[in-house]
């Protein structure tokens, strides 16, 4: 499918072009390569937006059955093993794909003047292509290939354009998440091997192995098997569920598997952080929906409480750690951990509304967190420091940056009519509905809900010490050595405006994205309920 191929190929072609050129010519290549990458990413964005109007805008009326995909496309890859190049989009993956193509041009704009642009921008394209690949894959093998492929451009983004400790951070990022995905890979391979052998069944089944990597086929098979017991048997389903979830929980990340994230974010360049927080973290949540939740619903019900605890701990722990941070970017990174807790809780409620909340949170956080990191990047760029309190009275010196920061911070703390609020609201409704069904006390609500106040506390406290204060004789931070304090560049302003506009758009009109997500969750649950897989008293 063009969506995956184009950015990857374009990225490689541009990189090869640059690599061929003399080192001295790189400077001259920066601008044409940037323009080429930008134009290309805009084209992709236009393409996915057209796809939205074509197929997803009216999904609630047209509907999409469970395990049914639009734009499905399949080519044989290794037919002997049942490996195919199968792609397709549904209401779960499309928002993520659109988000990726949206963030690519915005990231390019926000980091317009990044050094070594000739190699930087193609790397971003590669990154985008790999991410899209993860979301459109409907084949386990292909999914895993793209899953790992995303690590490589991100690794180089951190290593080549990162901060002082970039070596340590990039390696930690790579090894940590890779180790987790090895566990996941083991799970995937086991799943492949454990499925009933159907030699000669044709279709997506391997001609030699009689097994398949095809996700729709597996899901269909799993649904049939789950109706009368556990697909693959009870203990195997549980083990596989845990193995897959482990890989996804590290990627998300959930406490206590999160410590790679702050290191990676603090060292990553702005563009890397924007894509990392905006899309890459969501691969974890996306993977959960696509694989374990779809195939192992019994195990999901079994581990529901464990997931709930992971979610609550992430939410609360992340928020408390944020309050103790002195580094702006680290604080924002931990706020991501906290918000990913919202996604986990949403999933663990086992309510359509909770799942829709998780999906919308993935999407909303995908717009808000790049803005958070764009602000951090601009802050670092102009004040040469990430310490909260190093620079006070920003409203005076850099009104644009101050306004952007306040907007992004407010969006992230869940201000109504901005994108994040709807997701949080739905999560809380679903959580209380769950707690009420369980017969638990209202106190279980108070902890997660108080995080709303904690979140406000760390964001407001940091704003008090950056945007405000300073008195009449506001000094630029010592790190500037008396230089004049500039406001952000026009490109940065443009990126902030775009991100802010979309945050407002999806905050005021959430239905644009939420209607299809609701349709997905509704279909999912109705499918599971009507097939007797989700039963009462869970």
């Amino acid at each position: 499918m063009q969506l995956v191929g184009f950015p990857v190929v374009a990225g490689i072609v541009l990189l090869a072009f640059v690599a061929n050129a003399k080192k001295s010519a790189h400077e001259k290549l920066n601008n044409p390569i940037r323009m080429a990458s930008f134009a290309f990413s805009l084209g992709l964005f236009a393409y996915t937006t057209a796809m939205f109007f074509d197929a997803f805008a009216d999904i609630t009326t047209s509907g999409l059955a469970f395990n049914d995909y639009k734009f499905q496309d399949s080519y044989e890859w290794f037919p002997a093993l049942g490996i195919h190049w199968t792609v397709g989009l549904d209401a779960l993956s499309f928002p993520m794909v659109w988000l990726t193509t949206f963030l690519l041009p915005v990231t390019i704009i926000a980091t317009w003047h990044e050094k070594n642009g000739a190699t930087y921008f193609p790397t971003l394209l590669l990154m985008g292509g790999a991410l899209i690949g993860v979301f459109v894959s409907l084949d386990l093998f292909m999914f895993y290939v793209f899953w790992e492929l995303t690590l490589i451009p991100m690794f180089f983004l951190i290593l080549n354009w990162g901060g002082k400790d970039r070596k340590y951070a990039s390696q930690k990022f790579f090894i940590y998440t890779f180790t987790a995905s090895v566990v996941m890979l083991l799970g995937l391979v086991t799943l492949y091997l454990m499925q009933p052998e159907q030699i000669g069944a044709g279709g997506k089944y391997g001609t030699m192995t009689g097994r398949t990597f095809d996700i729709p086929t597996l899901v269909e098979h799993a649904t049939a098997a789950n109706q009368n017991g556990w697909f693959l048997g009870e203990s195997m389903q549980k083990v596989l569920f845990v193995m897959l979830m482990l890989g996804f929980l590290v990627k998300l990340p959930a406490v206590p598997f999160h410590t790679w994230l702050p290191d990676a974010h603090v060292q990553a360049p702005t563009g890397g952080s924007m894509l990392l927080a905006g899309v890459m973290l969501k691969m974890g949540a996306y993977g959960m929906f696509r694989l374990p939740l779809s195939m192992f619903p019994h195990a999901l019900q079994h581990f529901q409480l464990a997931l709930m605890i992971f979610g609550m701990v992430s939410l609360v722990w992340g928020a408390i750690v944020c309050l103790g941070q002195t580094n702006l970017k680290k604080m924002v990174a931990y706020s991501s951990v906290s918000h990913m807790g919202v996604i986990l809780i949403g999933i663990a409620t086992m309510q359509p509304m909770g799942w829709a909340a998780a999906l919308f949170m993935m999407f909303a956080h995908g717009i808000i967190s790049p803005m958070l990191f764009a602000v951090c990047g601009a802050f670092k760029h102009h004040y040469h420091s990430m310490e909260i309190g190093a620079m006070r009275g920003m409203a005076k010196h850099s009104p644009w940056l101050a306004t952007s920061m306040m907007f992004a911070w407010m969006a992230s703390l869940g201000l109504p009519l901005l994108a994040g609020f709807v997701a949080e609201l739905m999560m809380f409704i679903a959580l209380w509905y769950f707690i009420d069904l369980q017969g638990w006390s209202v106190l279980w609500m108070v902890g997660p809900a108080l995080v709303l106040a904690l979140t406000a506390a760390y964001y407001l406290w940091s704003m008090q010490r950056t945007i405000f204060e300073g008195g009449d004789e506001t000094q630029p931070p010592a790190s500037l050595n008396g230089d004049v304090v500039p406001d952000i560049t026009n490109e940065e302003k443009m990126a902030m405006l775009i991100l802010a506009a979309f945050t407002i758009l999806f905050g005021v009109m959430p239905w644009i994205g939420l209607d299809m997500m609701d349709d997905y969750c509704r279909t999912f649950f109705e499918h599971m309920i009507s097939n007797g897989i989700f039963k009462g008293g869970a």
Partner: protein
Amino acid sequence: MAGSTLSEIATPEITELAPLIVLLPMIAFAVILFLGRVFNGNPTWKNTVKEGGIIALGVMGAVLVLSLLLIADFIGSVQAGHDSVFHWFTSGVWDGTSAGVSTDKFGFGLYVDHITVMLLFVAAFLCLLINVFSIGYMNTDPINDNRNHRFYAEFTLFCSGMLGMVLADSFLWLFIFWEIMGLCSYLLIGFYYERPSAAYAAKKAFLTTRVGDVFLMIGLVMLWDLFGSLDYTVVFDSANIEHVAEHSAGTLQWALGLMFIGAVGKSAQFPLHVWLPDAMEGPTPVSALIHAATMVNAGLYLVARMFPFFGAEALHGDLADLAYIIAVVGGITAVMAAAIAFVQMDLKKVLAYSTMSQLAYIFTGLGCALYLANTLDWHHNEKDHYIVIVAFGAALFHLFNHAMAKGMLFMASGSVIHEVHHAHHHLHHHDDHGDGHGDDHHDEEFDAQSMENMGGLASKMPITATAMLVGSASIMGLPLIGGFWSKEGIIANAWRVAQDDPRFLLPAMCVLIGAGMTGFYMSRMWLKTFAGKPNNEVAAHVGPTNIWIKTPLFILTFVSLSSVFLAGMGFTHWAPDENYAFMQEKSLVDGIIYEMQHAFANSDAYFFIITYIAIAMGAVAGPGLAMALYGGKLEDGESAKPWMTPVISLNAWVMNRFNFDNSAFAESTLAVALQNRLYIDHYYDMAMVKIVAGLSNKVAQADSDVIDGTIKTIETGSQSLSTAVRSLTTGSARDYILMVAVGMLAIFMLVWGVA
């Protein structure tokens, strides 16, 4: 009787223009912000458009006209009007049975009933007047140059939030607009961002109200669970309430109670009151509009909206405890805030504590009204019906009177501060020119808000002094003026409930004592500012104020003085009821006569005595004590307007006759505690620093030491392991990636092999 015809009249439709009431200010927000960015510094923009002030004024004028059209349709209407505007999103829940997933729609619409009508008028009217005031106040102060557009933008956004909250058709959208107001409050308190105290106050306001909002949100979520919706049309439906009452009346009380905590935060009631006095860091128009007249009423509005639950037959007696809690929180706050107001020297802080105290009165009034609605058989018994409606009406009417009077008082105080500051500026410039501090608005040594720098201003600022006098009288409940009609009602109702339920003696006692305390601190404020001799040279040089400031003062003085007519028109029993609706029961003259009789010659001895005790405390004892201690004759040769002369002469006479030394009290532990706001803020700050900040530092430490430490241990462990196989490792990450690729290939082969 007029009622019979009323019920035949169909419910009026909400006009299609009504959403503009919310939308117009929101658009103005964006427009002013944008134009301000573009035209900042342009002389036309600055002098003619007043940096956006004129745009805001135009929009607020349009909003008031649209609101009045809507009000004209709905005033006196028995039925509430409802109109859906747009669909927001759909979602569903699964109840754990095989029935499938529910379809729950969330949308936005407008809902207009008698409470909306009252609040809508208060909001639209005061937004316009305070906008006029702002042009006179903000645009004449050099410190605001080139940043007024930010003020007007945030001001209009606030108005949009307030009007939206009042008009919204569900608790969900009430909450959404509630938060928008919170944001504007935050931005406007921190308007002078460079001042650390303003930055601190802004944060404190947002966080304190946010704590309340957290509980409000839990309450809303629980309410949603009970009704499957937050739309008023669904949750107020008596069949739905009956259904919920059958098995979850207790949960409903919890939900409403948690929502009430949100109201406590927003309306600055004990124990979430600490933000309001600090919020006075904002420009005075902000204090007048947001922190006195409109936003702080949001909490009251929320509680008033809960009336259908308390009044439901199905829930008879089930919510009485919550009503009691509401009344008690109000009672405690009323007394506490009034006591702290005794010792404040800052003009605006006195008013802030007064706001807190008066809002507490309304809470007590609402608590009593809700208690009566919940325990009396008011659906069938005509007498009980009347009692409930009058109790609820008194609380709503006090909301109205307080908003008008307090908005005016803040504007008047702004007028004083503005002129004191100018006088200081003027003097300062002449005294030590060349010192370079001439245009320093906030220099440390001079505080334009302190009453120490005022005194004897009655002769210099006649309109302001009159407005302040009328406003104070209205707040004190001086007979016939403004708040008298509603405050008497609240006190009488508290004592009525205390007859039924002795628990209510506490709030009833509080509001009665509070009346005397109000009389004292409001008189003290007026006397210290306007009577006596100027305290220093600055006060002696204060001049009159400009027309933009005078106009709203004049209008609001008139409104407060004409309260008796409003009472006669039926504001004291403001209810969607064919027998008691606006102007339906009797003619204006009959109405006034009835209210007079009711207030001064009540046939019930119990209420007769209560009324006169309240009058004696609020209008005689309190002001008398203040007169004995503060104020005095004006400077020789200065004279006040004739209507203020008696007050000043009386003051001088009382001071001569009953003067005593209160220095023993001023140095007592109690006075010191009051000056320190009873140490509540202090303990909150300590808790924030010691517990929250301390815990977060510990947790952050644990995060890097324990969780990341474990990972690092594994790292170093595997590193030392790898020393053994160092020949394979180069230490270069690029090689590792190669190995990853090889590893993937190996696994791939493995799969192949097994297969």
